[in-house]
């Protein structure tokens, strides 16, 4: 597979997408603007159509139009005239209508449009790859380098403003980075599916993570895993690469969700009981035939200066030949 040059380019493009989409997607999910990527994807469609119409490179026109659109969405939201989801909807439908209209005028076929809607990673050219990896490097450097600032702005806008951060600049910057990421991912998974790679790895990662830093790193790792294995699987099974990548990412979520539930349950059961608020004394259980101890089959949990044994939903502690109930 690696002996084909088009596959080498495909894998490199997939690597760029797999790294960048979850990196910027983590901030979007944190801001609860997870579908911003989807909105920008639709705006980029107008950009692609503009490229088809004018004969300029669709990748370049898509970048210009989607960056402008993303900045406009954030500005509209920050001005407080419309809420985030409404601002998104306005551009969402404008973008797709403009794209279809312009493609019709340009006389391009539906097949041409499909290449951008669902990706065509195997037709990535050398110059495409150069542009895509350059942009991906920029997105990565900024979204990792400015992580503390982005975190603060996405976590609590008001507090960030009182910390003296230029919140509007950072918000628009995040939207612009998202727009660049969309165009980077356009050839890999396509405009309609790009948002999946921004959101699904983040959703998967946060099933098992507890900190922001871990979520960001794991989401990027999962994004790369889904992208590379998706390209490989589509080559082996002769399927479309874009949908294969997205379905693999979703399969990852399906595995992680129950795993995360088990992990959280496990942590809850093992957490020491708080010693400060216990009401003493308590009931005695006198005729308890079972001898609690290490390895007795009941879970031992630390409680202040001693150990409780969790037993049928209550807590036993050995005390002068009987068991106290906590």
């Amino acid at each position: 597979m690696l002996s084909y040059e088009f596959m080498q380019r495909a894998l490199l493009a997939a690597l760029a997408t797999g790294l960048t989409a979850p990196a910027i997607g983590t901030y979007l999910v944190q801001k609860r603007l997870g579908l911003l990527g989807d909105g920008i994807g639709h705006i980029a469609l107008t950009g692609v159509a503009l490229g088809l119409l004018t004969g300029w490179a669709p990748l370049v026109t898509a970048i210009v139009v989607s960056v402008a659109g993303a900045a406009a969405i954030e500005t509209l939201r920050l001005r407080g005239r419309t809420s985030g989801d409404v601002a998104l909807a306005l551009f969402f439908y404008g973008g797709i209508a403009g794209g279809v209209l312009l493609t019709g005028i340009a006389g391009s076929s539906a097949a041409t449009l499909n290449r951008y809607l669902f990706g065509s990673i195997t037709t990535v050219s050398d110059s495409d790859l150069l542009l895509v990896s350059g942009l991906a490097a920029v997105v990565l450097a900024v979204s990792v380098g400015l992580a503390p600032q982005f975190f603060a702005v996405c976590q609590d806008e008001e507090h960030a403003r009182v910390s003296g951060l230029p919140v509007a600049v950072y918000s628009v910057l995040i939207a612009v980075l998202a727009a660049i990421t969309v165009t980077v991912a356009m050839r890999t998974v396509g405009l309609l599916l790009v948002s999946a790679l921004m959101v699904v790895p983040v959703a998967t990662a946060q099933q098992v993570t507890r900190s922001f830093r871990a979520t960001l790193s794991l989401a990027m790792a999962l994004g790369v895993l889904a992208s590379l294995s998706g390209v490989w699987a589509s080559f082996q099974a002769d399927t479309a690469p874009g949908p294969t990548i997205v379905l693999l990412a979703l399969a990852g979520f399906a595995v992680a969700a129950p795993l995360g539930g088990m992990l959280r349950r496990h942590r809850r059961v093992r957490a020491p009981f708080d010693d400060s608020g216990t009401v003493e004394p308590h009931e005695h259980e006198v005729d308890h035939p079972h001898q609690h101890g290490p390895g007795c089959g009941h879970r031992a949990v630390v409680h202040g200066d001693h150990v409780d044994y969790v037993h049928d939903g209550h807590r036993h502690v050995p005390h002068e030949g009987h068991y106290d109930e906590h």
């Binding site: 008001e158 507090h159 003296g164 900190s211 922001f212």
Partner: protein, 258 residues
């Protein structure tokens, strides 16, 4: 913090009307008032989060539009939760409070880490510092936000309902903590519905009614002026009866032996 003749209109409707407010170093001033009286809007306008229609605001001696020394200001916004769409640990949220003095591309230094540790100890959450904030109760999350505001060692602290949902024991802890700040010379503005254990530390209370200052003085005077501003009626005749409540009410109080 000095606010002079401040007027704020939201959506064309005046919410704050010609308000004066001065908070000196070492002073704890509470802004009291009912829902919709403009308490939060007043402090938000004073911090530049809401544009003022007219009036002057000075923060630490500098006019608001020229003020850049944000590291000297601690702020607890009115929040029901400290969580967002992605998990974040208590420590990560508190660390955001150190950002003002950090500059771009600078990692946390030892001094920053020590300040974060100290703030976590102060709000009694040191043992939870690696837990996700979303797993904490509402009152514990409120304490995380207080820690975030303290971590930059500010000279002016503005807290919007910091005791909402905090249990009585920790209201005591937080009140003592805030009193400690004022003793160190920090100017402290606190928006609240009710004072609780904080009352004895308060130097001045400002009561807003419908966007105007209705009272400015010590809490004791405030209690005299406003504590009994309404009269409790006894149900006197059938005309005063509340529908669904038997009339007349039994002449005994609950718990009184008959």
């Amino acid at each position: 913090m000095r606010v002079r003749n401040l007027t704020v209109a939201l959506g064309g409707r005046p919410v704050i009307r010609r308000v004066d407010l001065t908070v000196r170093p070492g002073e704890l001033v509470t802004v009291l008032g009912g829902n919709g009286s403009g308490k939060s809007t007043l402090v938000r306008a004073a911090l530049g989060l809401v544009p003022a229609t007219s009036g002057r605001v000075e923060l630490l001696g500098t006019p608001l539009h020229r003020f850049r020394d944000w590291v000297r200001i601690g702020y607890v916004p009115q929040r029901s939760t400290a969580a967002s769409g992605v998990p974040a640990t208590v420590r990560e949220v508190v660390a955001a409070g150190r950002l003002a003095g950090r500059g771009l591309l600078r990692p946390l230094r030892r001094r920053d880490r020590a300040a974060i540790d100290a703030a976590l100890v102060a709000v009694d959450l040191a043992d939870r510092h690696r837990d996700p904030v979303a797993e904490l109760s509402g009152g514990q999350q409120q304490r995380v936000l207080v820690a975030r505001s303290l971590v930059s060692d500010p000279d002016l602290l503005v807290l919007d309902e910091p005791l909402a949902g905090v249990d009585l024991a920790h209201q005591d802890t937080l009140s003592a903590l805030l009193a400690e700040q004022t003793a160190r010379g920090v100017a402290l503005v606190l928006v609240a519905h009710e004072l609780g254990p904080l009352a004895r530390h308060v130097d001045r209370a400002v009561v807003l009614v419908d966007g105007r200052v209705a009272f400015d003085g010590t809490p004791d005077e405030e209690a005299t002026a406003f504590g009994h501003d309404h009269v409790h009626h006894h149900v006197a005749g059938p005309g005063d009866a509340v529908p669904g409540i038997p009339h007349p009410l039994p002449a005994t109080r609950p718990g009184t032996p008959r």
